[in-house]
Amino acid sequence: MAGAHADISKHKRAYYAVFAALAVLTVVTVAVAQFHFSDVGNVAVALAIAAFKASLVAAIFMHLKWEKAPSIWWALAICGIFFIALLALPVLTNSDNPPQVQHTMWDVRAGAAPAAHTSH
């Protein structure tokens, strides 16, 4: 934690700069979303901007840039890893279904699935 007054004044400038950046980036997000690159592309751009904004907030407003306490960094690192596991593994599990698993139980639409004859 910064102690001296001079430090704090320096911080203040950083706060205003971050504010400006956040405001601009918000506009950019909206603007970019009006274009359609591709499904993945749009998601990637939007999330990249959001991630950048979030790291600005974390670094400057939440003082992580000046944070030295190892305990905080450890907690955040562990949390980050588990966050990624939580985000990725469920969807990976669902996408690793064996062949022929169908995501429906009714054949409401159209022709029925083929099946072999009963006799050999």
């Binding site: 305990s71 907690a75 562990i78 949390c79 890893i81 588990f82 596991a85 939580l86 593994l89 469920p90 990976l92 599990t93 669902n94 690793d96 279904n97 064996p98 698993v101 429906t104 139980m105 009714w106 409401v108």
Partner: protein, 584 residues
């Protein structure tokens, strides 16, 4: 202005505290620890009672329950005979109560709160008011769970796992269950923050991390598990509440037809989403059930072998690694849901990896016995019994972790046997060891050793009579959560084992009588003992028994590791952490 000054003021108020503030809404970690312990023990007894009722139906299906059958009420029983919905409600509540209201509050809320700050030489927890809040939120959660028995349709009856869609279309008790869980989760979160901060910030001078007693380490890792694994279940609980109350379809797929009626859900949800979120919590949760138990056992073993723990550092690394890995094995509970080869291989691999640190910890504890001088007192008996019992439970986890073997064993009594061996003769025995071990610290008196030994021998025999037959049942293919297994030929053929298991459970219940008597009678009649009756080395024994407000007469300073027993050249066979020099 300064902090010392500020708190000084506070400190001087305390002698005037009224009875309520001192014993009920107390912020003293010791009072809170005792509150947790007593509440949790009562819940354990209650959860056990539920299962003893279920065991009647299992052994003698369709026969009226003797003695208490008439008291069960219309939603659970009919003329004293248990109903299927009653059985399911008792089962779900047994699991929930044992895990969330019994064991965790006992070994984390109770032992953690009482012992951990003492062991690190702290005057209290870092956030005493938050600590009080944790207990009372837990208490409210418990009350909600208890009251849910009186909800229309009875208590939650979809298993402690509350799998959707069953839980979404279930009776009102499920909503109560969800609210209760939200409270319990909140309580655990508050508690875990407090534990972590306390351990990081309030250690006595000289007590660096590798001088911490192993119990503190186990609480530290456990707190991280609670902190990071519980929130997803809170989120899942919110989603399920939405499904139940607001008609959303988070867990509801398209085209559900329940009892011939097309359901009003728009669909698009995934039943597996619930399972992922639930097991993301519930697998780390099972390590929450075991790590503090291992910690307690390690304390008792070190003390009663009169010898340093073998491989202390290795054990610490193992427990950290175990905690870390426990977050990425959860889907081993979901192998049979239609999982593919790659993902199942991934989760099976992490599951195999996680067994290694357990093996290391157990091996270290056993090697600690080598060339020691074992003192067979009651806590030690329970701690020693923990080892083979946990080994059985842990080893039977291995076939479950192999997806191909799990095809046959999943959701059979084999699973029930597996985890009861780790939680009942495992964790409960560790908790008994802890109770007998720290009772003198809390009360200044020991519990009666003769009654303690009777309690031990009977419990040890009968707990095996309860759970060993479950492996036979499971192998034969009997599914769990069956109101009446004799519907199946394979169930009928092993019914004898089921009956034996039931008798074991009731005898186990009887075997607790000496304990309950001992527990209460020793408060007055127990032998008065000194502050350090077990001649132990860790800091809690440096405080008076019972410790006063603020814990230590003089602020302790730590000079050495936690288990300096039988140090060569010393007159006494123990060398406490806080002594600068050995006593001549």
């Amino acid at each position: 202005m300064t902090e010392a000054h500020h708190h000084h003021d506070d400190h001087h108020h305390h002698p005037e505290l009224g009875w309520w503030r001192k014993y009920v809404f107390s912020t003293d970690h010791k009072v809170i620890g005792v509150q947790y312990t007593v509440t949790a023990l009562l819940f354990l007894l209650f959860g056990f009672t539920l299962v003893m009722i279920m065991r009647w139906q299992l052994a003698y299906p369709g026969k009226p329950i003797p003695l208490i059958g008439g008291l069960l009420g219309k939603t659970l029983a009919n003329d004293g005979t248990l109903l299927p919905e009653g059985y399911n409600a008792l089962g779900a509540m047994h699991g929930t109560i044992m895990v969330f209201l019994g064991i965790v509050p006992l070994i984390v809320g109770g032992f953690g709160n009482y012992v951990m700050p003492l062991q690190i030489g702290a005057p209290d927890m870092a956030f005493p008011k938050l600590n009080m809040a944790s207990y009372w939120v837990y208490f409210c959660g418990g009350m909600v769970m208890l009251l849910s028995f009186f909800a229309p349709g009875g208590a939650a009856n979809s298993g402690w796992t509350s799998y959707a869609p069953l839980s979404v279309v279930a009776t009102q008790g499920q909503t109560w269950w969800l609210f209760g869980m939200v409270l319990l989760i909140t309580s655990s979160l508050l508690g875990s923050i407090n534990f972590i901060v306390t351990i990081i910030q309030l250690r006595a001078k000289g007590l660096d991390f590798f001088k911490l007693p192993f119990f503190v380490w186990s609480q530290f890792v456990t707190a991280f598990l609670l902190l990071l694994a519980f929130p997803p279940l809170e989120a899942a609980g919110a989603l399920q509440l939405m499904d139940r109350l607001a008609g959303t379809s988070f867990f509801m797929p398209e085209g559900l037809v329940v009892s011939g009626i097309v359901q009003p859900y728009t669909g698009g949800g995934s039943p597996l989403l619930w399972q992922h979120l639930f097991w993301f919590l519930a697998h780390p949760e099972v390590y929450v059930l075991i790590l503090p138990a291992m910690g307690m056992v390690a304390e008792v073993i070190a003390n009663n072998t009169r010898k340093p723990l073998w491989g202390y550092r290795l054990m610490v690394y193992s427990v950290i690694f175990l905690g870390f890995m426990s977050f990425i094995v959860w889907a081993h509970h979901m192998f049979i849901t239609g999982m593919g080869t790659r993902i199942s291989a991934f989760f099976a691999t992490t599951t195999m990896i996680i067994s290694i640190p357990s093996v290391i910890i157990l091996t270290a504890l056993v090697i600690s016995l080598y060339r020691s001088s074992i003192r067979y007192n009651v806590p030690m008996l329970f701690a020693l019994a923990f080892l083979p019992m946990f080994a059985i439970g842990g080893l039977t986890g291995l076939p479950l972790g192999l997806p191909a073997a799990d095809i046959q064993l999943h959701d059979t009594y084999y699973v029930i046997g597996h985890f009861h061996y780790v939680v009942a003769p495992g964790t409960i025995f560790a908790a008994f060891a802890g109770i007998y071990h720290w009772y003198p610290k809390v009360t200044g008196r020991t519990m009666n050793p003769a009654l303690g030994k009777i309690h031990f021998v009977l419990s040890f025999i009968f707990i095996n009579v309860v759970f060993m037959p479950m492996f036979f049942q499971g192998m034969a293919g009997v599914s769990r959560r069956l109101f009446d297994q004799t519907f199946y030929q394979h169930g009928l053929d092993v019914q004898g084992w089921t009956q034996l298991s039931s008798w074991g459970a009731w005898m186990l219940g009887l075997s607790q009588v000496p304990f309950i008597m001992n527990f209460f009678m020793s408060l007055r009649a127990g032998r008065k003992v000194s502050d350090n009756p077990w001649e132990a080395t860790t800091l809690e024994w440096a405080a008076p028994s019972p410790p006063p407000h603020g814990n230590f007469a003089t602020v302790p300073v730590v000079y050495r590791g936690p288990y300096e027993y039988s140090v060569p050249g010393q007159k006494k066979d123990f060398f406490p952490q806080h002594l600068a020099k050995a006593e001549a």
